[in-house]
Symmetry: C2
DNA sequence: ATCATCGTGTCACACTGTGACAGAAGTCGC
DNA sequence: GCGACTTCTGTCACAGTGTGACACGATGAT
């Protein structure tokens, strides 16, 4: 990796850290791009070359997570029930976080506190999650060998799995949990969701309600 | 109702209709507030007195839906399983739509087409849904008599119910479905979700995974 | 060293959204 | 109808986000 790319990555993280600190200090809305840029000594224009928007600061970890899940889906055996595959994806995300550097862990926790203080930002995060859901649903539908466009079952599989992750992330037992506690709660929530589903529900093809029942296609 | 309020409502709907048409014609991003305001002969400043933002045009129906669900939750018997209550809420929303005026139905379908064409807008809609979820989760937690702050079960109940509504809304079988078809698919999706859950799952208290099982508190 | 490439800053600009104020229009009393 | 009062609306000014164009300097390959 060349000097250029290392420098770029360093700037990127510098911007991110400066922004998170400013957001936590004085609030998201009251922090301007100009301030963020100023505090890492770049021009506002350059800021937008690293992050497409102020909002995207809050979403920086999404891409990585989606990538992990997508890759997990690809690596799971073809016959596996789709929800099981998704859950493996979720756990891969968690274990990736567990192995993250202390700096990344701290960023993650700062972000979590930020979302806690600003419910509006949760919306952003969820909005991004919706795009992710579409792509994952398409991947799941492909695995199931059905048309991705209108397969509600695939969408539901993904939506429910993502809900588990989100609810676990959002519901803290304590005021300022550490990384292990957050991950633990996310894992607990996954277990909770697994326990609430009827075994085999995700093997059923998506048919009209009238012929549900005999349509177990695995 | 005075002349003022009628006029206000008329302007509000005129703005909404003009905006939806412009959005469908030339895209959401390429339509400016100035254009919308111009096409109903008001100043841009006035536009923002009717809609707090350009985005909020896309969210105009959310408030009503949330209100219906909240009210439904209030009216259901206290001992009812929370997910059952939520499903009643969802169906109340559907039946309210069924009874809507032709104009409202058309607006709803236009909005649906708009969301279809612009995945980005789905994010907005979902973001708003997240706020709704928080409030509904608090209401559900209250019904269950547990602390609303960290009850993952309540959040899950709401998240899953809302997922059903959303997935049904988003997955069209045909290119340009009419209101009945959309509502039918939403209903089908609700049925699908009901069928995939283990009976009684939502009666369990939110405890540590270790003492799940004996914790049936209803 | 040299040249092409890429990152950055500067300038200019469009768009969204808000506060302040003045004038127009609706509302209520008489 | 007239006047006083309230509410709505338009104009103006402005902060902030985000983008395109261009020029300059740093980086990387040869």
């Amino acid at each position: 990796m060349g000097l250029r790319e290392r420098k770029k990555e360093k700037t990127r993280l510098a911007i991110l850290d400066a922004a998170l600190d400013l957001f936590l200090e004085q609030g998201y809305d009251s922090t301007t791009v100009e301030q963020i840029a100023g505090s890492v000594d770049i021009s506002p224009r350059t800021f937008f070359r690293y992050f497409t928007s102020k909002d995207s600061l809050v979403l920086w970890f999404h891409d990585h997570g989606e990538e992990i899940i997508t890759e997990t889906l690809r690596s799971r055996p073809p016959g596996e029930p789709p929800f099981t595959s998704m859950v493996h994806g979720l756990r891969a995300v968690l274990s990736d976080m567990q192995d993250s550097t202390p700096q990344d862990a701290e960023r993650f926790l700062k972000l979590r506190r930020l979302l806690d203080d600003h419910p509006h930002l949760v919306g952003l995060s969820v909005a991004r999650g919706a795009e992710t859901e579409r792509r994952l649903a398409a991947a799941v539908a492909e695995r199931r060998g059905v048309d991705p466009a209108d397969d509600r079952m695939s969408h539901l599989v993904v939506a429910i799995a993502m809900s588990a992750l989100r609810v676990g992330f959002e519901c803290p037992k304590r005021e300022r949990p550490d990384l292990g506690e957050v991950l633990g709660q996310m894992e607990e929530t996954i277990v909770l969701v697994e326990g609430m589903l009827r075994p085999g529900w995700d093997l059923r093809g998506t048919r009209e309600p009238s012929d549900r029942g005999e349509a177990l296609d695995a």
